[in-house]
């Protein structure tokens, strides 16, 4: 399959979708949270306002930082949008859909994570080092869970290609095997940890000593901070979108026709919205777990993945 114009349009659409849906999902999750806390809360559009304001502010850099500090937010956003452009979010036929698989998407996202870690270490502060150290630990625990979950899902289909993994649910009704369900649960826990949501990390904390992700970005200001927020939220909706499409693939466009794309866009937006609300409700009813309990949680996710692999092989 050669790259087609339709695929290009679809990829561009997905790219723009994560950039817009990311901040909106953040707004939605904050809104749900405030309502459950009995507050009116900020508007769903507030993260977009924040981004707009940040883009008009001054850029700063710590005294002894290098180009790595300035490059990190850029790479974070770039990796997130590239991963989004080639994933089956709106349609199964995005650009390069047949030539980019789940593992590739994961490692592209990893580029963003690593650049953020390095950007944090470049500041030369204790907080950022602490955040990077903790985030690296969580990341190291998340990766096995993610990879094994991907392997388990791929086993049933015989390929790790994402469009096939999602598409198999659309075209056949044999979606909800035990292997896939276990893998999806494992994948979901891994997403929560990877995107720094409760119970792993509290995205709303103001206390440096309890921070994981937030501590890494304490030094960023203005447009750089806007990029960090944008990149992080794009990753969030990308991963939630992948989860939603793997769990409930219906509604995703098969081709790249205009109507199909609009339908796919609506479908993925609704699905991600629902998952985001669910995550938010879960976050309100749970507390952050201790830092050194996180590996236990992720080891649990990992074991679910292994169970899923074994059941996939056993039930074949």
């Amino acid at each position: 399959m050669t790259p087609s114009i339709g695929g290009g349009v679809a990829s561009a659409l997905q790219l723009l979708w994560v950039l817009l849906a990311g901040p909106l999902a953040l707004g939605l999750m904050r809104k749900v949270r405030s309502r459950l806390e009995g507050r009116e809360g900020a508007s769903v559009l507030q993260p977009l306002r924040d981004l707009r304001k940040l883009s008009t502010k001054q850029r700063t850099r710590p005294t002894d930082s290098t180009w790595v500090f300035a490059a990190a937010p850029v790479v974070l956003v770039a990796s997130a949008v590239v991963a989004a452009a080639f994933s089956p979010l709106v349609t199964l036929s995005a650009l390069l859909a047949t030539r980019v698989d789940f593992v590739a998407i994961l490692f592209v996202l990893l580029l963003g994570s690593v650049s953020l870690l390095l950007g944090a270490l470049d500041t030369g502060t204790a907080f950022a080092g602490m955040g990077a150290s903790r985030a690296a630990m969580v990341g190291a625990m998340v990766e096995p869970a993610l990879l094994v979950a991907i392997l388990a899902m791929s086993l049933g289909v015989g390929t790790s290609n994402l469009s096939r993994l999602v598409g198999v649910g659309v075209t056949t009704s044999t979606l909800a095997g035990p292997a896939r369900i276990l893998a999806l649960v494992s994948f979901f826990i891994a997403i929560l940890a990877e995107t720094g949501r409760l119970p792993v990390d509290n995205p709303a904390t103001h206390l440096e000593l309890t921070m994981i992700h937030e501590a890494m970005v304490l030094e960023y200001a203005g447009p750089d901070l806007a990029l960090v927020t944008l990149g992080e939220s794009a990753r969030l909706v990308l991963l939630l979108g992948l989860f939603a499409n793997l769990a409930l693939p219906w509604g995703i466009a098969l081709g790249t026709g205009a109507l199909a794309l609009v339908g796919g866009l609506l479908a993925v937006s609704i699905k991600v919205g629902l998952v985001a609300v669910a995550v938010s409700v879960f976050e309100v009813t749970t507390a952050k777990i201790r830092l050194f309990r996180i590996p236990e949680l992720l080891a649990g996710a990992f074991l679910l993945g292994v169970l899923s692999v074994i059941s996939a092989v056993a039930l074949r």
């Binding site: 001054q58 770039a78 949008v81 030539r99 490692f107 592209v108 470049d122 094994v148 392997l151 830092l291």
Partner: protein
């Protein structure tokens, strides 16, 4: 082709002579230039063997006993010659600059040249004698290089001692294995051995394979025979570390493939289960110690162990699937193993070059004392960053394709066969995944703590950029990591030819790598292009909004430290503190030693005089396995001393007893 070979030998020999005879002025330059020449000839020779697909043979039966000197360069061997040649050429270039710091003595220069010769000769060997000769040349010359700085550093002696014991022990195992095979085939020639091996009993074949595995896996740093590796690779001078990690460990893999696949034709399924299991354990142990290490070169050395573990997992998966009748998967996994070897050579030599430059500039390998080197050593830092991303399997560097292929191999291997192998492969995937995460910790730490932030000691603050040849050598290998990352078929194509995969190669394609007949595709080229495009767009957006905001200048501010006074560089996270969470998570496995000494002032216990904190993270295998072994050996040696008390009469009696025993046995 003979001319090329003779030219290679002549250049290599001349370089060793130059190292031994030239005066100090120009010694290293002459040797290095001749070595680059030798490597180039070897590269061209190997390149022609790979492209024509026919072996190059050359022999002189009078030069060595037992079958004589025989060269048979097969396409598979040629791949390893190419690797050794590339790393050797780059290391020689690097050596020119490094010699201003150390490694310029007569003995060191000669040993360096002989080491390169050995590295290039091992895969060329066509019979057992030549192989063992080249193997020993490589082992002994590298041993001399590890020990060469013994006068100044005691650690070098310890490292050399470990290395000597392990490498010679391994060589004994290899000798037994190859000698046994040769005895069975009544010939030392590898070709004859391969034809003769079909009539071996299963027990004999397994014994020979396991013996060879012990020797070769030890060379590749497989657990539990890896203990020499982090010491020797860390203590060796910069270019030598690069040669050891970039070229020498590969030859262990070459040996396993040679004995297991070429001489013994794949053998039995359980051999490869063993290889996979050893690989998995090696990968995890290596990655774990890399993640918790604070010595930058030790970290790299453990990472070498880790990577060789991944290679062995791929090799194991290949042998496993071959034995169970899935040749397509086996072919893919073998290609994967070799691609991993090539990638590792490229990025690990880059990393060792950069680490060597750091050591030369700061006289320290302890990351807790480094920091902020990216500002004073920008090129070295950039090359180390390339290596960091490559080893972490991050696109667009070359490690990414290797990791992807490994995942595909394991995925398809899992789809291929029965229960025991399913569990092994599932655990292998788990090991790969865990290793991947730990590698990221290790290398984010290595790059972040060493090169970013602020200098933690005077030596880090006063460091200067490495010399031009050192920078060029590191940049060349770093560039190779990028090029083979964007266009991995440059490597895979060569590997396909080296394995003689023919037109239906398991994985091929310049733009898109496609697995055939299995399913799977990846396009590193388009991905890299998309990433580059996205980066440019985002940078443009940032420049645009920055201009529109009216704050064109980026404000340089003191790092935010909650408004405290005296925020010093010592308050930054160090390598030890960065690795502390993972150390705690794996506390039960690593069992690190922590020691806190608190002393109080005499008047009151509430006032502290000083606190000192020590932490040591000694290799658990070394502690649990080798220490007791060494102690029992020691005990044995002390008690057997009673037998040798110096009395001539007693010795004569021993001789008599021995003679009687021999006569009885012979009868």
């Amino acid at each position: 082709m003979t001319i090329l070979f003779v030219a290679f030998l002549a250049c290599a020999g001349a370089s060793a002579l130059a190292g031994a005879l030239m005066p100090r002025q120009g010694r290293v330059l002459a040797s290095a230039v001749l070595l680059i020449g030798a490597s180039t000839f070897a590269l061209v020779l190997a390149g022609r063997v790979v492209s024509t697909g026919s072996d190059f043979t050359w022999s002189r039966s009078t030069l060595l006993p037992l079958g004589g000197l025989a060269i048979r360069l097969s396409p598979l061997g040629a791949l390893f010659v190419i690797l050794s040649g590339l790393v050797a050429a780059a290391s020689s270039l690097y050596w020119i600059g490094y010699a201003h710091h150390s490694l310029n003595a007569r003995s060191a220069a000669t040993a360096f040249c002989l080491f390169v010769l050995g590295l290039l000769a091992v895969p060329m060997a066509g019979n057992v004698t030549t192989f063992l000769f080249a193997w020993e040349l490589m082992a002994l010359s590298s041993l001399a290089l590890v020990a060469h700085d013994h006068a100044r550093r005691r650690d070098a002696i310890a490292a050399a001692r470990w290395y000597a014991v392990m490498t010679q022990g391994g060589a004994v195992a290899i000798t037994f294995s190859l000698a046994g095979l040769a005895a069975h085939a009544h010939s030392t020639s590898f070709v004859r051995i391969a034809t003769g091996a079909t009539s071996l009993t299963s027990g004999a074949a397994s014994t020979f394979f396991l013996l060879a595995l012990v020797g070769f896996a030890s060379k590749s740093g497989a657990v539990p025979l890896h203990v020499w590796l982090p010491r020797a690779h860390a203590e060796a001078p910069g270019p030598v570390s690069a040669l050891m990690s970039g070229a020498m460990v590969n030859l262990g893999i070459y040996g396993i493939i040679l004995v297991g696949r070429v001489l013994l034709h794949g053998g039995e399924q359980w051999w490869w289960l063993v290889v996979s299991a050893v690989g998995g354990v090696t990968a995890i142990v290596g990655a774990l110690y890399a993640a918790t290490s604070k010595d930058v070169k030790r970290l790299l050395a453990y990472s070498t162990s880790d990577n060789m573990g991944l290679v062995m997992m791929a090799l194991g998966a290949s042998g496993l699937t071959l034995a169970t009748g899935h040749p397509a998967v086996a072919a893919l996994a073998l290609v994967t193993a070799l691609v991993l070897v090539v990638n590792h050579s490229l990025f690990k030599s880059t990393l060792f070059f950069a680490a060597g430059s750091v050591h030369a500039a700061t006289h320290s390998r302890n990351m807790d004392e480094l920091g902020g080197l990216a500002r004073v050593m920008p090129v070295t830092a950039l090359t180390f960053l390339a290596g960091t991303l490559a080893v972490s399997a991050i696109p667009p560097l070359n490690g990414f394709t290797g990791e992807w292929l490994l995942f595909q191999s394991l995925l398809h291997a899992l789809g291929a066969h029965g229960v025991a192998a399913t569990i092994t492969v599932t655990l292998a995937v788990a090991a790969v995944a865990l290793t991947g995460g730990l590698t990221i910790i290790a290398f984010v730490k290595a790059y972040g703590i060493t090169f970013l932030g602020r200098g933690r000691s005077a030596s880090a603050l006063e460091a200067h950029e490495a010399g031009p040849t050192m920078r060029v050598a590191a940049s060349l290998t770093a560039l190779a990591c990028l090029v083979t990352g964007v266009a991995p078929y440059a490597v895979i194509g060569v590997v396909n030819r080296a394995l003689d995969n023919g037109p239906n190669s398991p994985v091929a394609g310049w733009v898109t790598l496609r697995l055939t007949p299995l399913t799977g595709a990846l396009t590193p080229l388009y991905l890299s292009a998309a990433l580059a495009g996205a980066v440019i767009l985002v940078v443009a957006w940032r420049a645009l909004v920055t201009r529109a905001s009216g704050y064109a200048r980026v404000a340089t501010l003191e790092p935010w430290g909650s408004g405290r006074h005296n925020q010093t560089a010592r308050m930054q996270y160090t390598a030890t503190s960065f690795g502390e969470p993972i150390m705690r998570v794996f506390d039960d496995v690593l069992r690190p030693d922590h020691d806190v000494d608190v002393s109080h002032v005499v008047e009151s216990r509430y006032y502290l005089e000083h606190i000192s904190y020590r932490s040591a993270n000694e290799d658990i295998v070394e502690r649990a396995l080798y220490r007791p072994l060494a102690r029992s050996l020691d005990w044995w040696a002390r008690h057997t001393r009673a037998i040798a008390n110096g009395s001539v009469h007693r010795y004569l009696a021993y001789g008599l007893v021995a003679l009687v025993i021999i006569l009885v046995v012979v009868q």
